[in-house]
Structure formats: C-alpha cells, structure tokens
Symmetry: C2
Subunit: 105 residues, 2 copies
C-alpha cells in the first residue's frame, strides 16, 4: 500500500480553510480519482513536540493507493482540476510525500 501525503507547512500569514477542504476539496478528489483510492485521511495541526511549539504543518491530507502506478494512473488525468482547486482553500504551497505503508494497525 502506498500513501500520498500532502503536507501544508505552517508559516506567518498562512491561511487554510479546513471546512472547504473537508466538504469540497477532498470529496472532489475522491469522486475524480475513483475506485483506485483505497482510503483517505485529513488532520489539522495542533502543536509541535516541545511545550508551546507550533505545529510544523497546519494541515495534512493523505490518499492511499495499492501502488505508485495506481496513484499516477488515477490521479494524473485529474491533476489540473485537483491542483487548480488549491487556491480556493489555502495560500500554502504544499509538500508532497509518497510513502510505502509498513505498518497499519
């Protein structure tokens, strides 16, 4: 299983509309990507590790696929529409990380 994480770094002046992300953006991604998408998850940053430290990421979205090939085949054709929606909920340039799931329990 492969996990595609979209990480939104915290910074002064950054904006992130979690309501839009949860109710419009992620459902749109799910609809466009279709059955190749096995799971999805969204988290909102609360804090860092040190007392009083801010979260490194204000938000994180995760998409799970069977393989990198399955992700690319399902996501690629819809990338312009999906990426084009980003300015509707944030002014942050996200970091993308593709990972292999080694443990999930």
């Amino acid at each position: 299983m492969v996990k595609v994480s979209v990480l939104y770094p915290n910074s002064a002046g950054c904006k992130f509309d979690m309501n839009y992300y949860l109710t419009k953006h992620m459902p749109m991604v799910k609809q466009k990507v279709g059955a190749a998408l096995k799971n999805m998850a969204v988290e909102q940053g609360v804090a860092g590790g040190a007392p009083g430290a801010p979260a490194t990421y204000v938000a994180m979205g995760h998409l799970y696929f069977d393989s990198v090939d399955a992700f690319q085949a399902a996501f690629g054709p819809h990338a312009p529409a999906i990426l084009g929606d980003i300015p509707n909920y944030t002014n942050i340039a996200p970091i993308i990380q593709i990972s292999e799931v080694k443990m999930h329990e």
Copy 2:
C-alpha cells in the same frame, strides 16, 4: 482522536534501520504506552512530488490517542526509555507533530 506523528527528515548521511523500528522500537512503544494507544502506523519514504525528487521524510511513525491529555498521561512516564531507544535505529533528530484527526475513511 489525536495523532502524534514522528517525522524523520531525509538528509545526506542519514541512517534509519526500518527493521529495528518495526520489530523492536514500535512494539516497545506499544507495550509501554498500553491501552491509551488506539492505533499505530509506520511509513517509509519513497519519493517526493516532483519527478525524481527524494522523499522529505525517510520514515514516519504515527500514534493515535483519544486526546492530547491521554497521550501525555500514557507517554510521559515512558518518554526517557522511548526517546533513549532512538539512537539504536537512527541518527536523525525527528520532528514531532500533534494533529487532530478530522477525517479517516
């Protein structure tokens, strides 16, 4: 639900023993933290978003708790033992992020 993510940044010369992490470290965390730990997950970085880009994180570990208080109460007493095990599998100083789970399906 709260997710505590331990992110291991990729850098030149970094080392990470995934086998030790999966078979020794995370089981030890699970045993020490006990029933407060609702779920755990581990991922290994594969790639970044741009073609040929390396993963931002070589590994990520995630621990799920009912609340920040539940995490602190369960983890705090064992922090010295758990953090003291880090040099046994990596030379990376991890980033900690505490997040609120907004969507998980």
